[in-house]
């Protein structure tokens, strides 16, 4: 009778240990997989701080517009176009 009871207790312990190990492995596996995925995602996302280089073929490279400080002596409105340079001049007769 005593032998029969001790076998049963041993079986219960074995089941408990198996379930505990199974749950531990399942949980381990679950968390270990999540960490690995996050790491891979971060590695494949390009860094925003890295320089972007664009190469144009067959066209001149675009030029940045020159920005100059406004000058105080530059008129805001251009003067009307002046008369063209005379081809000659009328004057009282002289050498």
């Amino acid at each position: 009778m005593q032998n029969k009871n001790s076998h049963r207790w041993l079986d219960v312990q074995i089941v408990i240990m198996t379930l505990a190990m199974t749950v531990s492995l399942a949980l381990w596996n679950l968390f270990a997989s999540k960490n690995q995925t996050v790491t891979q995602t971060q590695a494949t996302t390009p860094s925003l701080s890295s320089p972007q280089v664009t190469i144009y073929f067959g066209n001149p490279a675009p030029q940045a517009p020159a920005i100059t400080a406004p000058s105080n002596d530059t008129p805001a409105i251009s003067a009307p176009s002046a008369a063209p340079m005379p081809v000659t001049t009328t004057r009282s007769s002289r050498p």
Binding site: A83, P86, T88, T90, R91, S92, S93, R94, P95
Partner: protein
């Protein structure tokens, strides 16, 4: 644009043709030759010129060249236009005032005693001519000097000849003849010299077919026994004109008319001169007075480049 500059008739000459063709270039190179021929006929400073020989041949008919014939009749027309204010019978008065050589060789002061020659004869009544023999007859007391008229006529004649190869402008010492607007349809820009600042222009004109001339007492002047003299003789006094006009620039149909009118305006002064300009719609003018004032005829509005 082809152009050539040279010296003739005591002045700087400029001829321009608005064409780059070979014929234009060839014809332009002929312009100094033409002026040399005309100066040999019309200059009173060349003793062997046709005019000098005519002046030495008073009292007899003398057959003259086509050039002298044309300039003589142009001068008759100028006398009519200006009511006798401009007449080439002023030679004796000019000599009396001391203007006896080309201005290039004039001293700043001459000591010849001056006396007015009061009776300057009309060209058209004093001088006889015969169309059939192309001859002129000068009375004993009459001698001719075409002066600026010769330059105006030469400029006009050269512009007419050059017009065969393109629009042309000829500047004969300030007397300018233009055959027409430029090939691109634009006007010719021509400056008016500021006599108070000879290194700059007072204004710029926009010109098509016309003549423009400036006459004045700002340059050709000298002292004679302490009296200021100049080359523009008032036929009413036989003396250098007493005028408040320093220079008169006139635009007219051709350079001969412009030259005659400019001289007339200087002789009669600013008040009568402006009245004269305003009364004739075929004339436009700018008068620069000795006091610095500038007067524009209302027709100048059409010619000023703004």
């Amino acid at each position: 644009m082809n152009q050539i500059e040279f010296h003739a008739m005591g002045s700087r000459m400029l001829a321009m043709v608005d064409s780059n063709s070979i014929p234009a270039e060839h014809l332009l190179n002929q312009v100094p030759v033409w002026f040399e021929e005309w100066e040999n006929v019309l200059s009173r400073f060349r003793l062997d010129s046709e005019l000098s020989r005519l002046n030495r041949s008073t009292g007899m008919p003398v057959a003259v060249s086509q050039t002298l014939w044309d300039v003589f009749h142009g001068s008759c027309a100028a006398e009519t236009w200006t009511d006798g204010l401009v007449r080439p019978t002023v030679l004796d008065a000019l000599l009396q005032a001391g203007y006896d050589r080309s201005f290039d060789f004039m001293p700043t002061s001459v000591s010849m005693a001056s006396s007015a020659i009061l009776n300057l004869p009309d060209l058209s009544t004093a001088v006889g001519w015969d169309e059939s023999t192309h001859s002129l007859f000068l009375p004993e007391s009459v001698h001719l000097d075409f002066g600026g008229m010769a330059k105006g006529w030469s400029a006009q004649q050269a512009a007419i000849r050059l017009a065969e190869v393109g629009p042309a402008l000829v500047d004969a010492g300030g007397d300018i003849a233009i055959s027409g607007i430029r090939s691109d349809g634009d006007a010719w820009p021509v400056g008016i010299l500021d006599p108070f600042h000879p290194d700059r222009n007072l204004a710029t004109l926009r010109l098509g077919a016309c003549g423009v001339a400036t006459s004045g007492v700002d340059y050709h002047r000298w002292q004679q026994d302490g009296q200021l003299r100049h080359h523009i003789i008032d036929p009413r006094t036989g003396m250098s004109a007493e005028t408040d006009v320093l220079t008169a620039t006139i635009i007219a149909a051709d350079a001969v008319r412009a030259e005659a009118e400019a001289k007339a305006v200087v002789i009669i002064g600013s008040r009568s001169g402006m009245e004269r300009l305003e009364a004739d719609p075929e004339l436009a003018g700018v008068l620069i007075l000795q006091n610095g004032e500038i007067l524009y005829s209302h027709t100048m509005e059409n010619f000023l480049w703004k």
